[in-house]
Symmetry: C2
Subunit: 499 residues, 2 copies
């Protein structure tokens, strides 16, 4: 076979893998948003079968020879990166035996079902039993990944979500944030406690009408409902595929910002997926550049663009109109709504956290994940470790497992190594948004007018349209002119909360 | 390999095929009930990929040897039928080249999208262009199937939906019905025109509240909402998988029976799927015994059990309560509601047809399908042939393509050969229900009490739990003591409409 035929053959294989992965993505969305409980057992088997098929394609012995052969082909720049990304995925897939893949998929699906009930019932022991095989298999996988990638087992796991990320980078970034944030948080809380009390909001809006409001605002930001849906799920997420993005959010009848900001967060994810280079659809280089970059996109919309004062001037009349209240009611002025949306308060639940305290939730999980994978933390000791960690980071102790170690879906489904991406994403979002602000000096007036076209155009050119063409580090450097650092994030937090 | 190892290997393969088919079934449901239009192109590729994978497994050259080898194994009765059914499917799959499978899947998906708009716009020419490749590929497939099965090309297509069905059986059954029905229809219409006018129904109910009513009635009949969903789609259907049955219906604000009876029809399908032998799940012998039997189950519930006077006595108070009308309002008495539900009127639309005129719609499609596959009817001539056929069978001529040849989804998606199953199913439903009545003399009082337990127990024992253990012909003979005939159906129509 010629080297270009080898490359062509590889693109066919990876296209099949992509299509099977997309089928699985729709089944996952359905599981979370639509499926009755009785469907779980069989759905687990369906997903395990798809995963196994992908694994079979990826571990076909012929693949290594094709990758070697294609390396000598005359390829363009995108194709060369595509080939490199193919090899990276091949390395990941071949590090892990098929049996382990299947066993992990099944035990994770079972553990997810147990976890849902266990969280409801505050039953740590039930969870612990179901989590034991998941953790054992993830640790096995971590060891295998670390060995082939030449990194630590935990880094092997992170690499699945944020390619190339290593502990020393994360440690340094988190250390800098841990130097800055505690004092910053104190100052913010002191300042907020000196402000006049927020006027009470008394109006509620039905879930249906909140969904209509959220859809209209999402559409204004750029979400295409001909290529996606907004539904409800307990854990908001962005799923589906690039041409049919499935967003979920959840609503609080008394607090419209829960559903709205959740929807705008997921809209950031969705716009990234929609903006990926269509010509590379189904090829590794056409995929999103990992989950940290993905989180940067959701947080750029939710936290940077949409939680600012300017956008709330755009939002306030729409909220008042949905609630049918007069312009003059102070609780629903742009200023009051904005102040409420940037209230900072240490709390027990990560997904409810504001952007100042959120990183502390990540620090805790990062420390605990590392210890779990290293074998320095037993499942039975998780509740105590959680309480100690929450006490250390936020000065709070959960009274229930539900508000503690059972709150997140990530560990039950075996997604260990994902959490750092949230805070790396927050930091990257601030740096990207600062770069946009540099080239768009009147960004605030654009946001006040609800005009996201400049932001979207910049992101299309500098992030979305580049897929996995560059590493996260290079992408950041090219887009912003400097390597990723906490500077923009710190400046943002100071400006928003202390100015 | 030993013969029992060969059999074991086959069960593994067919299990994989089943799981991939189930994944596709959920994606199909999503397409019809959830997917935004922009997702269609990529979904088409995902479904084509799954179909291709199934085809690859089914056409693996090793399979034939395994089938031969396993035939010498020491197998139980169910296993022997399972093996025979494996061979039947293998024969179907290997008759058709992979290229044809993929091309048909894609052109059918494209044609479906075009058809949706073409029907809306009453644009036959747009449909005709998209249908041309579908028909060409289906004819190619029919020729291939007919050759290996030793039957006519059209029979090769029918065999996919109603295994073993042949034209002479259908011709004979339809001929008998065509002798009986025209005169019967005349008598029914004459009788109905002599009855006092039905009291006008003036109340409407929102779609949401109709759905709640439908769900409560479906649950009473036996639908388990922990193993299924009820949603809305333009074309009601029963999809999903046995443990997670996805039913859709559609609602008419002014006529509750549309949504209710649609839901009860699909409930019959769902109960069949749920009652298939769990121990054989994923094996060919554990699947439903073809689509004619499937239709017998939906029609047994919708037409035999639920459209009778007895069940309307159970239903009427629930409808009045949902509408909040008094017991005394004559338009909503059990008698009036029942009379309305069994009104007979020749019409243009198959899915709106009553059970007396429905077979005429099938006769028309059966004749036209045969001609299309035989090459005796060109696509350009479809509208004229439709008008002529409707004139001949029901004395009506559609003024639009929308009410004529563009009304059904079957041909656009390449499902030619399916239509006879509807009427075979109606005939079988009557025969099964008559058999249940023989062993349950107080069936009417059970239905009046909304008690379906005896019906369900009988069906579980005689139909559902037997999967594909017996052919449709044997299943009918064993369950009812006689071969399938039109007798019970004719008696039913006389009793319901002329007594």
């Amino acid at each position: 076979m010629s080297s270009s035929a080898a490359y062509k053959g590889l693109t066919d294989r990876y296209r099949r893998v992509a299509l099977l992965g997309e089928a699985a993505a729709v089944l996952h969305w359905d599981w979370a948003a639509m499926m009755p409980d009785g469907g779980a057992a069989r759905r687990t088997e369906q997903l395990a079968e798809l995963e196994l098929l992908i694994h079979e394609i990826m571990t076909d012995p012929a693949l290594e020879g094709d990758l070697d052969e294609a390396a000598t082909a005359d390829l363009g720049a995108w194709e060369r990166v595509n080939l490199a990304e193919m090899r990276r995925r091949w390395t990941h897939a071949n590090a892990v035996p098929a049996k382990l893949v299947t066993a992990l998929a099944k035990s994770a699906a079972q553990c997810e079902m147990v976890w849902r009930e266990a969280r409801e019932d505050n039953n740590f022991d039930a969870f612990a039993d179901a989590f034991a095989p998941v953790l054992a298999l993830v640790r096995e996988k971590a060891a295998a990944l670390g060995a082939v990638l030449g990194c630590s087992p935990y880094e092997g796991l992170i690499d699945q979500y944020d390619p190339g990320a290593r502990e020393h980078e994360i440690d340094a970034l988190f250390a800098e944030l841990q130097t800055f944030l505690p004092e910053h948080l104190e100052q913010v809380l002191a300042r907020q406690s000196n402000q006049p009390a927020l006027p009470t909001q008394v109006l509620a809006l039905s879930e249906e009408r909140q969904a209509i409001l959220a859809q209209s605002i999402m559409a204004g930001v750029g979400f295409e409902f001909s290529h996606g849906r907004l539904d409800t799920s307990h854990h908001p997420f962005c799923g589906g595929v690039s041409d049919d993005v499935r967003i979920t959010t959840r609503y609080d009848a008394a607090d419209l910002s829960t559903g709205l900001m959740g929807g705008l967060h997921e809209t950031g994810h969705a716009l990234y997926e929609r903006g990926l280079p269509a010509v590379w659809r189904g090829q590794p280089v056409g995929d999103a550049c990992g989950m940290a970059v993905h989180e940067s996109q959701s947080l750029l919309f939710e936290m940077q663009a949409c939680r600012g004062r300017a956008f709330f001037r755009h939002l306030a009349p729409k909220i008042r109109s949905a609630l049918d209240v007069a312009h003059s009611v102070s609780a629903y002025s742009a200023e009051a709504l904005h102040r409420r949306a940037i209230q900072v308060a240490p709390g027990l639940i990560r997904v409810d956290a504001d952007e100042v305290t959120y990183p502390f939730h990540i620090f805790l999980r990062y420390e605990m994940e590392k210890a779990l994978i290293a074998g320095n933390l037993a499942i039975a000791d998780l509740p105590d470790a959680w309480r100690d960690g929450m006490q250390k980071h936020l000065g709070l102790v959960p009274e229930t497992h539900r508000d503690g170690v059972l709150q997140d879906i990530h560990w039950p489904v075996g997604s260990i190594g994902y959490f750092p991406s949230y805070t790396i994403g927050a930091v990257m979002a601030a740096q990207l948004f600062a770069a946009i602000r540099e080239v768009e000096p009147d960004l605030s007036s654009q946001l006040e007018a609800g005009d996201f076209s400049s932001i979207l155009a910049w992101l299309r050119a500098n992030i979305h349209g580049l897929g996995s063409r560059y590493s996260r580090a290079d992408l950041t450097r090219q887009a912003t002119g400097r390597p990723l650092s906490a500077d923009a994030f710190k400046s943002h937090l100071k400006r928003r909360y202390l100015d």
